[in-house]
Symmetry: C2
Subunit: 314 residues, 2 copies
């Protein structure tokens, strides 16, 4: 599979512009004072489907040939990528199947169904086999959540916008799960000479160790409140991030939850724990960011409101 | 006391511009589809101090003569106005005293103190007497939360921005407690030929009844989750809103809470129940708004995160 380039991000940006939001960038005196830096929050929680995933899926779907597109698309995801694929299929009026585990939260099932996709339920362990079986039957194209050049190029458009909106950035921090977002961000950072740093929950730190050791490790199999970041780093992302010499910062579950609640209390923005991971990283490693202009990709806002319960005001 | 005019709102806008945010305007496919209208959310929850109150207090404080200003300012408020007065005093580097009840939440005490104001605690029933006593001793100027022409003109600047940001509005909906925000909004609406509608919790419906009957009633004395809206409508606001023929829509406590949680779940924005009142009004009375371009002043975002607990995802 071919590695995407910065030119692919530029092309993706033109291609998806009519279908995704140019999300706003927020600042916060609280965080600026705390970090001793200028922090710019790129609010992809306000993106279509509530997450940056709308960018990559839309770009991948728009890139399909007419012949491929008419056979439809399929993916497995109980999270934001599932909604994004359903949304993107709707743009092109093609059929989409989203494979979800039986125990997927009803709110996520409803969201995918609301975008008009067909849902096929299966056991968690059977989801890849189920996708392959659907593909074999229908000829549908699999839209992978991150190990896909079109998806990576699409995710990079968030940072492309950010550098247009905020001149002179020194660094951009983004969460890493499979690495679609971080590798797309890295392509943009490379072009502009901006440091790009990943943020990952300590308990699922495979990307941290992979980039440290130069070995692509699998997922730890642990759970994290950053439920979008459980997967292992993908091959394409590993190749791009390794060749760019990128690094990852890890944070604890408690630091992630604290970040989510402080952003809600101070900035009045609802962000999901995966996004809180990036915020927690600049707080914990603030000396690395002091005195710099730092962008953060607030990757999404799809959080259970109950998570904020009992956290009190800050 | 002189009634403020639209010209005062224009002057306030010039005066406070360096000190307040030009807050963004958001749209939501969910609410557009639900109402059958185009809804524009003016996000004053992202304003300084987390509420539109920063506008009015800043304008009032900037309007003081140097001689008045140097004696300082005083107000009583355990809510957003207290923070706004503390913030505004800081802009002009003058002393501020905020009288708060002993039982005020620590987070609000900390916020006021954080802006550098002095806090004087008293019994809830003694707060007006305490303010007057401080005024008598120090000569400090009282900044009333709503019954003040400078405060009303300042609050109107939110709508002034909104009509610049969104051309062709047919209506603007804003919550009403004392009426500072709604009367400032009404001045802007009158100038531009835009319908202006208040929103009030049913359980504290004095403004609804006052404008219906042409009689200024006092506060009901009841409590509402819309804790910024408990006060009775002020004399200036009553005069302005009556002469403009404005009306108020009432909503239930449950409808308000539902609005707060749906805005969080769908729009990823944290809004306070007072702001939720305006959202609930367009939902409940949607037939009044169908087919129109409607602005909503999201008055603030200072909500206890615990309020969202147990509400589940939507």
């Amino acid at each position: 599979m071919r590695e995407p380039t910065y030119a692919d991000v530029v092309a993706a940006s033109d291609s998806i512009r009519p279908y995704v939001h140019r999300t706003p960038v927020f600042t916060s005196t609280h965080f600026d004072d705390l970090i001793g830096a200028e922090i710019f929050f790129k609010a992809e929680n306000l993106q279509k489907v509530g997450a940056f995933k709308a960018r990559g899926a839309t770009n991948a779907v728009l890139s399909l040939s007419d012949a491929d597109a008419e056979r439809g698309i399929v993916t497995h995801s109980s999270g934001n990528h599932g909604q994004a694929v359903a949304y993107a299929a709707g743009i092109r009026s093609i059929p989409a199947v989203v494979v979800m585990p039986h125990h997927a939260p009803q709110v996520k099932v409803d969201a995918v169904a609301g975008y008009g996709a067909e849902i096929v339920f299966c056991e968690q362990a059977d989801r890849e086999a189920t996708v392959r079986s659907i593909q074999a039957d229908s000829g549908a194209v699999i839209i992978h959540p991150f190990n896909d050049p079109g998806v990576i190029a699409g995710q990079g458009t968030a940072s492309m916008e950010l550098v247009e909106q905020v001149p002179g950035l020194d660094a951009i921090v983004a969460p890493i799960g499979g690495g679609g977002l971080l590798s797309g961000t890295s392509l943009v950072g490379m072009h502009h000479g901006i440091d790009v740093v990943g943020a990952e929950p300590e308990i699922v730190d495979d990307a941290y160790r992979s980039l440290r050791d130069g070995v692509r490790y699998g997922a730890t199999g642990q759970l994290s409140v950053g439920d979008g970041l459980l997967t292992g780093i993908g091959a394409l992302a590993f190749a791009i991030l390794s060749s760019h010499g990128r690094r990852v910062l890890t944070v604890t579950e408690q630091e992630i939850l604290e970040a989510v609640t402080v952003v809600a209390a101070r900035m009045k923005l609802l962000i999901e724990p995966s996004a809180g991971t990036a915020v927690a990283a600049i707080v914990r490693y603030r000396l690395q960011f002091a005195g710099r202009r730092v962008g953060i990709i607030i990757s999404g806002g799809n959080v259970s409101l109950d998570l904020l319960a009992g956290s009190g005001d800050r």
